[in-house]
């Protein structure tokens, strides 16, 4: 297990609450003053400037999909340095506006979080993807952007798939022959790692025991094969010797935050500047550990857009508080809410009249 000096998984839940609450309340005021659309939402939903917040769960949240339908930013147009986008399944896209400081903070905090898993050195890196995903830098997908972001944490990169998206067994074998004797980094989207790297490693009896795997992207594509996180870890351990596996959860709307799976696996942890709140989708109250609900994510990083408290469309559950590998809440993502559909008529629903 990596020892974390200067780490970001250090605060107990009580300390975190104490630190996050004033900071998040400040951000609420900051975004109110600097973003008209956000100010209107607060005003319409009864969150006046004089309201006093006793806990993080009391703070107003925005539904994360609002970033797909509205321009929400707290910086003037001339300060926009970077616009992050995410493509959704329905084709609409979130737009997240960053100024220079926000972009720098994003990179800095992301590094510190990832270092909790891999240490401070750049390790040789095996990527469970094809170089084709980053080929066209002007138009690469969310997958390409994710790969590119993670490449900064490794060196001597080798792709596990060839440009035709076929497993490149020789390349993987070559990488392991050269670097397999010391710690190395593996990164990929969960389903790619499973479908390509795991299957290939198992078939060719490859030894991945010095690897640290970081993966993300969700389990949806693996559910059909009855592979959940525990099965995934077990299979890698049994057949490839790989045991240092960190899944993570994050979204473009919450810059610089990754919720990282702890060393023992099966739980995600929140970095010190972020937290999750599981809400009952009927009462919107916070749910205690063990009760699944909708995931709200909070973070003190977003200064340039009002993304410090977001209600996601993911279902999750908190397993415990201050009782795991790292302090704070440990939780899992259980799946995604389906998109609401109506029976009636409009172009959106290709329906008809009644």
């Amino acid at each position: 297990m990596t020892t974390v000096v200067d780490g970001v998984f250090t605060l107990s839940q009580a300390d975190k609450q104490e630190r996050l609450l004033p900071e998040l309340a400040r951000l609420t005021e900051h975004h109110r003053r600097n973003g008209e659309a956000y100010a209107r939402i607060l005003s319409a939903t009864g969150h006046g400037p004089d309201r006093d917040y006793r806990s993080v769960a009391d703070l107003p949240w925005l539904p994360v999909r609002l970033f797909k339908t509205q321009v929400l930013k707290s910086i003037p147009d001339e300060s926009v340095f970077k616009v992050l986008t995410s493509s959704g399944t329905t084709g609409d896209v979130s737009r997240i506006f960053l100024d220079k400081e926000a972009a720098a903070a994003q990179t800095r905090m992301l590094s510190r979080t990832i270092q909790a898993a891999i240490g401070r050195q750049r390790l040789p890196m095996l990527i469970a993807d094809t170089p084709a995903v980053i080929k066209d830098r002007k138009s690469f997908s969310a997958r390409g952007a994710g790969v590119l972001g993670m490449m900064n944490f490794g060196r001597d990169h080798v792709w596990a798939l060839d440009p035709q998206e076929k497993p490149d067994v020789e390349a993987i074998k070559g990488f392991l022959a050269k670097h397999g004797g010391q710690p190395f980094l593996i990164f990929g989207f969960t389903f790619m790692v499973w479908l390509y790297l795991y299957e290939v490693a198992r078939e060719h009896k490859l030894d991945l025991s010095n690897g640290v795997l970081i993966h993300s992207g969700g389990w949806k594509k693996l559910i059909d094969q009855s592979v959940d996180n525990a099965a995934f870890r077990q299979a890698f351990a049994n057949h490839t010797g790989l045991t240092r596996i960190h899944n993570f959860y994050g979204m473009v709307e919450q810059i610089g935050v990754v919720y990282l799976e702890g060393p023992q696996g099966n739980s995600l942890y929140c970095p010190d500047f972020a937290d999750v709140i599981i809400r009952d989708p009927e009462t919107w109250q916070e749910l205690p550990p063990g009760k699944p609900g909708l995931v709200e994510v909070v973070s003190t990083l977003p200064e340039s857009y009002p993304g410090h408290a977001l209600l996601t469309e993911d279902l999750g559950v908190v397993h415990g508080i201050d009782d795991g590998d790292w302090p704070g809440k440990r939780f899992s993502i259980l799946g995604r809410l389906p998109r609401a559909e109506a029976r009636g008529c409009s172009d959106t629903f290709s329906g008809g009249q009644a």
Binding site: A37, Y38, R40, I41, S43, A44, T45, G46, L62, P63, R65, L66, T69, Q70, L72, P281, E282, L294, L311, E313, L337, P338, R339, A340, A342, R343, G344, C345, S346, D347, T348, F349, S350, G351, G352, Q353, A354
Partner: protein
Amino acid sequence: MKLKARFPQGPDCTVDDLLADVTREPEGGRLVVGDERVRDFLASFSRRLLRPETARRFPELGSLGFFLRRGEIAKAIERLHDGASGNRYLPRGLVLHFPPANVDTIFVYSWALSALSGNANIVRVSNRSAGAAETVIDALNATLAEAHPAIAQTQRMVGYERDDAVTAALSLACDLRVIWGGDRSVTDIRRHPLAPLSRDLTFPDRSSFAAVAVDAWHEASAEAKRRAVDGFANDVYWFDQAACSSPRVLFWVGASVGAELAREEFMGLLGDAVAARGWRVDAAMAVEKHVATYGLAAEGAATRVRFAGNAVAEVELAEPVRMQRDWLGAGTICHATVGSLAELVPLVRRKDQTFSQFGFTAAQLDEFVTALAGRGVDRIVPFGSALTFASVWDGFDLLREFTRQTTIWPG
């Protein structure tokens, strides 16, 4: 490309065979307006829909069964006044129907009135149809056993996967093409030309609103208020408030103080009505409503957004009031207060279809229609009737649309 014969159920057929069959003169002669063979068929179909086990499972099929009862059908035909003052009504010929994918029963109304007008009909039904639509097709097939053979020959419901060649061939062959189901479907199907003498009857996207006369509300009995709220609840919650006739904005017409009180009382009763029926919205719909209403607030179109549980969301529209036509999720009511119906006139567009109302007099409504001067609104109905289908729809008297007129001037 073969078409799936859903009604009458049978082997897959080609477009050519289908067209040759339906246009052949049937046994007993060509169909006429109000044809007895069709009346008999619709009457026994109606009885089948009104069977308790069917009507209980799909209330909308109960309404359909009621609409198609022999007496109702007779009244509809009488309204044509066929033969009066030298005006005769004749079938158009072959009518092609493209019903919407998601509303299960509308295609039956459209088809039944066209059949009653003496037309041969081809209805494209969704291959994915389920629930009520499936039950309808089963009931139609079951009714066929005792029906005149002319019905099976001239009335067809077919399924086919999206195929331009089939749509084009059917379009060229028909005398009237009926397109339901949104702007995009209408535009898409209209790419296919019709024969020179043929025409389209289209039912594109529409939106609807409601209003309460504040004074009348305060004067109404508790029972009348409760009935109005129950009706409004049906108008809003059936079809997830996404039907063209589902109201989106609720206008309070009168002095603002009285309006405030009326609204409070009304919304209290609505909350009770929704709770009493056990109507809920799921988490996905609740999120949808938050995204939509917060979006309105962000845009400055709403000054207040309030959720009384997930089932009922209230939005206060900003002044000056703009009509809110977008779907905001099931059970989202946008309020606005105006001094008089006249103030609504400039807000109305051609797209606005149904105006559901409580408490206005016939004279006030008539005056409103005069003031609208054709800007929009096709029907004005009391609360509870927004979704009730009528043979005059979207401003068209369907029996007239499904027939053509021959005038006789003896000289």
